[in-house]
Symmetry: C2
Subunit: 328 residues, 2 copies
């Protein structure tokens, strides 16, 4: 008893050659309508399914995208994950999921992606050493850094325009007549946190304003602890710009715990517009990252590179939108 039935079996039953069977399943190949029907009928009867590995072996191409994620704990990422899988599925690509805890993607995982000869790679929120990135380039595997802006312009990256966002938020707070602000940063080696602060500080500097900066880590606990420290040190500003929503929720909870009224005494602005930001318990004013557009840009680039590799690099920045709720 054969465990798997192959194109040859189908060919025999349909009374055609294996080549014809192959052509029926290979998009773009020419087959007459008659043989196509014969083949499909035979395939149906036998329960035939083309072996993806044999296909990849001979074409040297796969329909697999490597998706590397870091810190799926932040509710921002499940959204990104589902959007990517949905988008790739639309074009017939499957997702090989890799999770890393380190900032830098582990070589073991890179090996995996290369062994599977993935058609493309998306790296969210993590970085990789330049020589590792080069090994993808050497294999003509297109690569996108998602939610990261690269200092070197050798690779493609897609993120929200964090600089403009920081500026807009500063201007919004200034318009409220506030002058005494604080920035609570995420991990300080991330481009996202740095750019958001850069835009923010730029505008404040134009108005000759200083601001306090408190380093945190993009987690709820981090935001909570940082805010608590600030309150207890008696350094409460009139507004917080917090580098992401999940930290901002921590800040709000700390403020509530200490009996600080929001937005009356302090205003709080987050970043991402995660689902929780709209919960009645929080109603957080924030900056929406245009995930759909970011995903779209990423997929668009990957598809074009997979069709014909150029290795072109660019830093794409998509504009987000201010979402006013009740914490400002």
């Amino acid at each position: 008893m054969k465990s798997t039935i192959n194109a040859k079996d189908v060919a025999k039953l349909a009374g055609v050659s294996q080549s014809s069977v192959s052509r029926v399943y290979f998009k773009g190949a020419k087959v007459s309508e008659k043989t196509r029907r014969k083949v499909l009928a035979a395939a149906e009867e036998l329960g035939y399914r083309p072996n993806e590995f044999a296909r990849s072996l001979i074409t040297n191409r796969t329909k697999i995208i490597g998706l590397v994620m870091k810190g799926v704990q932040n509710p921002f990422y499940p959204q990104v994950l589902t959007q990517f899988t949905a988008a790739f599925k639309k074009y017939g690509y499957s997702v090989l999921f890799v999770h890393t805890n380190n900032d830098e993607i582990e070589t073991e995982d890179v090996e995996t992606l290369l062994n599977y000869n993935v058609a493309g790679v998306v790296i969210t929120d993590a970085t990789m050493s330049l020589n590792v990135a080069e090994s993808f380039r050497a294999n003509h595997i297109p690569l996108v850094f998602f939610n990261r802006k690269l200092s070197s312009s050798d690779f493609y990256s897609v993120c929200c325009n964090n600089l403009n966002a920081g500026r807009a938020i500063a201007e919004y707070l200034l318009k409220q007549g506030l002058t005494d602000m604080a920035y609570i940063s995420g991990n300080e080696n991330t481009s996202t946190s740095l750019e958001r602060e850069k835009g923010f500080s730029e505008v404040l500097a134009q108005h000759n304003l200083e601001y306090h900066k408190h380093a945190s880590d993009y987690t709820y606990g981090g935001g909570y602890a940082t805010a608590l420290d600030i309150i207890e040190a008696g350094e409460l500003p009139s507004a917080f710009f917090v580098a992401n929503d999940i930290m901002a929720l921590g800040v709000l909870d700390a403020l509530q715990k200490k009996g600080v009224a929001v937005p009356e005494q302090v205003k709080v602005i987050g970043f991402d517009n995660i689902e929780m930001a709209s919960w009645p318990g929080y109603e957080l004013t924030t900056w929406e990252q245009p995930i759909e557009k970011m995903v779209e840009e990423t997929v668009k680039y990957l598809l074009s590179e997979m069709a014909g590799y150029t290795g072109s690099a660019q830093s794409v920045e998509v504009e987000g939108t201010f979402i006013k709720r009740k914490t400002t």
Copy 2:
């Protein structure tokens, strides 16, 4: 210029046969230490990596696990996802991620899994028609339904012992001297919601107590709306057992909005012990699902089935733990 270098190239440089190169990379094959060193040196020099597709083609086995998820929006699932990828990575398996929105996994996705000849499949929170499941069995692909208890005992399933959990929660509330309770269910066609309620109602029935049941949908919004309805209808019980944490958070926010004191006026118990349950703003009493153990059981079964397929079925239920916080 060759784009990919293969075992033959390495063999030539190392002065051995292609077979020897293969044996160096095939775990379990015998090679002398001398040739191993020669091969590894040559491989290093050329940057050789075995082609996973050629391997799978000939062995008819893969190192890929299909992971099907539904509703990644619930913060419970990112935890599950990371734990699975970590566990599988430990044994050299990669994860092909599939996301479905429907309760029932789409045939398109099943096709994908079969085409890639995955070594095993984990299905979280979704079901599949029996004949689809059978097609996995026909291909000797082991299958685990995670966080689902199956009525038919034809397939392996792993979940928390929801029945016992429901009982324990009822008993806990009874001990507090409460008699007027309500259950807020998740999607009513899920075994998780049904079993939790079953255990709960069983114990209450033993004490000749009735309870109110309110159907909801396992989302924050659902919990919020349901609680609001209850309050406005003036049907406030003395305790809520809510079928999962994310809904319970919605309930808490609704209660807070309406000025109902927790736990003084109403007690609330959730289910899952997601990270947010411990946030200072909520401090939700809940039932912890032993994710590590559940994942461990799943992986253990899959590994043994992948080593030698038996198709054995079992319904594994792991005991969870009660987590007392401040909402009771």
